[in-house]
Amino acid sequence: MSLFKTNKASPWLLNFFRWYCHPDYVEDLEGDLLETFERTKEQSGPQKANWILAINVIKLFRPGIIRSFNDYQFSHYDMFKNNLKIAVRNLIKHKSYAFINVLGLAIGMTCCLLIFLYVNHELTYDSFHSKSDRIYRVVTDIKTPTETINTGVTSAPMTAYMKTDFPEVEDFVRLDPSQFLLSDGEKSYQEDNGMFADASFFKIFTFPLVKGNAKTALVDPFSVVLTESAAKKYFGDQPPMGKVLKLEGEYDLTVTGIMQDVPQNSNFSFDVLVSLSTTLEEIFPRRAEQWGNFAYNSYVLLLPNALPSALENKLPDFMEKYYGETMDRDEMHYSLFLEPLSAVYLKSERGSPRSGNQINVMVFSIIACLILIIACFNFMNLSTARATERAKEVGIRKVIGAIRWQLTIQFLSEALLMSMLAFILALLACEIVIPSFNQLAGKQIVNSIFYNFNHLAVFGLFAIFVGLLAGFYPAYVLSNFNPVSILKGKFSSSQTGLVLRKVLVTSQFVISITLIAGTAIVYNQLGFMRDKSLGFKKNQMLVIDFHGDNAIQEKINVFKQQLSANPQILGVSASSSVPSTGNNGAFSVIENPSGDLQSSNLAMFYVDHEFFDLFELEMVAGRQFSRDMLTDSAALIVNEATVASYGYQQPEAIIGKQFSQWGVEGQVIGVVKDFHYASLQQKIEPLSIRLEPDNAMYLTFNIESTNISNTIASLEEKWKKLAPQRPFEYFFIDESFNQQYAAEVRFGDLFTYFAGLAVFIACLGLLGLISYTSTQRKKEIGIRKVLGANKLGLIKLLTQDILRLIVIAFFVALPITWFTLSKWLQSFAYQTEISPWVFIIAGLMALGVSFAAISYQAFKAALSNPIEALKNE
């Protein structure tokens, strides 16, 4: 400290004293301190004198001498009122610039708020369960000699035995989402949102029951709990408790409880909850001990403070103990893992009834930041460009005695004012736009922007932050002016921050071009997936879904014959799956090239003789199922992917090899060319096809494209006669296939809107900038015209700077877009190429849009009468 270094009284101490001391007393008290200092210095030297000074300064720190701090703030309050007044006057004086600034900020804020709502919604799925931090989903990895499958399901005994063996497992629950037929005695309904659940369901998850007892509702077999909407659907306004619904035409279920509808932000989606004891104690009791039957989504509730990783480490031994022999014999190794409940919806890649895409969430968050950056850059640009207007004011204020930071605060508060105005506009805009936004996103995110006051406060802070962020740089620049040069008249501000302004405009356009190109690529990919040849006939294929109704399966040939007796119907086939409906997997054993029997998990289709012809599938080796060969009921057809996974070089090589699948043994008789039976997001997995038409779940009809509604009506009539117990449910394969991309299409739409908004904001900024520069250069243009410049040359002059920047932006945007969009495309197994056209179009669009924005101003300036500009010289 300078106490010990200098000959004079320490300025630190004096400054400190001046700060706290009452202004009326400062002078004489400081004088006394200095006199004492001099005296002590003469007696004992400067160091001691400073030491004594320090002591005295501390001793004077007493209530009677300290200044009143209220008085201190009071003058700042007045100053702030003045700042506000000046800010408002400024806004009114330059309405158009203020409008552009506020509008740009408002749009940017609206986008950010909407994206925040969406991202927040996605990130908080299932957070409403009171025990959510202790709930984990149990998932299985199946390792076969050829591959590892990551599933989201387990078998029934796995979690049950986990509870018996591990004390840290407090409870467990198994869930089986199902579709089944429910009838109330008169009408039959196909319930697609059904689920079987253990009695512990309500103990683990927080789904409030409106009627009935949560502890006992699902204990007994044949009990069912309905959601309020389901109750309304089945029973209208009648009291539903105790009523009976018939399951699949056979079993009577009693309503033991009514619960609130499942909220939107949960990965669970069900309307009808049947007790799992119905299946495991009554209908299929063997499943309770079948370790290899993967039918259940299972969750465990751990004790507080139990570590999931510790439990996971014990699971390999656990599996070895109960199922080790079978696993070794079948060459199928099961490993169990725990996923926290909060990760199931978004992060997990193993699927769930409702599943979100983490990449989408990230993409939108980034877009929100980018849009905000563009809006802030706009603000900065316009404010610094207009600096000359305020130069005189700044000069005079400085001369009167304003300190630099006072001016900074003044300009910051102007920025804050605009940002708060923008915030109010943004809130209004959000309120209006939210219903359409919900629709666009495909889910009910919130009803109103005012849904949560905590969040509203956060939004307000966010608006303040934006104001400070955007206003900081202009405030810095403006407060930096040299008053002398301003008042002398030598000040010209058009050079102020010119380079930075160019950088800002260029960045805005880099972002805009990236977004435009990105949108084009997204649309390309979607179109590609829509139009790609799938390897089978998908158009004009109508499918009736009868959910494996036993009565229909027994008479499947009758159904096929009678329903297709219609000149409009060109063919029919029965199968257990059709492309896009998902399929079963089967544990299968096939002979591999070295003659050993190798196990694998193959996708499986049960079909009839007509299947291959109806779907126009191509055989690359061997033959299809034939009515002449009676042994075909124990024959297997596989696809090319299976051939490759078993290590065969040629498809012909697998013909004649032995196979065994679910008790059926025989030979492989044919290889079908790979076709996309699932979505294009996944690679074609190995597939096995067997001849078992009485295990079919779907009837597929190839129908003429004329008079489709008549065909459907006639089919429905016949159906009602043949199968009155089954509702007539149908869909078209091409539509069903495309629906798998519904989420991507929505993503594409949202992306387009936000890209459009970003470009719009960038152009707003450009508009403001260009109108300002042309006003600035009015004199210059006037002189040039007088000297003989032609109109074209003038337009070129005014616009070439900006256009040059856009070209630079284009070349910067190129690699950025390429890199990020390639990553997005990689999430699809089948992708388009990124064509150079995309960039050319994006660049031209950017040029075109900006030219449109600036052309009006440029033309006006070029056509102006030079006399107007120069008459005041």
Partner: protein
């Protein structure tokens, strides 16, 4: 007790200001008190008391000349007001009254 409550230190300060007549400023008051009473006086305590007495109206203050030694800061001289004189004499009379009421015996006893 009368309606003026004058603390011991306050009384001494006022008397010292009176002694110094026209020359009573911070440092001088401290010097005088330390000389006469032989005890250290804290600048903080003193200045607080001076301001308080001025607020009560017992003292008046005026600015004097600035000197180089004081870095160009002026001195603040304090003087007793008429009110202050009255208070001092009242307190003195009270004190004397008490003294006179003490019986001779106390002083002579062993």
């Amino acid at each position: 007790m009368s309606k003026h409550h004058l603390g011991e230190f306050e009384e001494i300060v006022m008397l010292t200001v009176a002694i110094l007549y026209d020359e009573a400023y911070g440092i001088a008051i401290i010097d005088e008190m330390e000389d006469r009473l032989g005890r250290k006086v804290s600048i903080g305590a003193l200045q607080t008391v001076l301001r308080r007495l001025e607020k009560k109206g017992y003292l008046d203050s005026r600015f004097g000349e600035a000197t180089k030694v004081r870095g160009g800061k002026r001195k603040r001289y304090f003087t007793i007001t008429a009110f202050g004189k009255k208070v001092l004499t009242d307190v003195k009379e009270q004190r004397m009254g008490l003294w006179n009421a003490v019986p001779e015996l106390i002083w002579n006893k062993q």
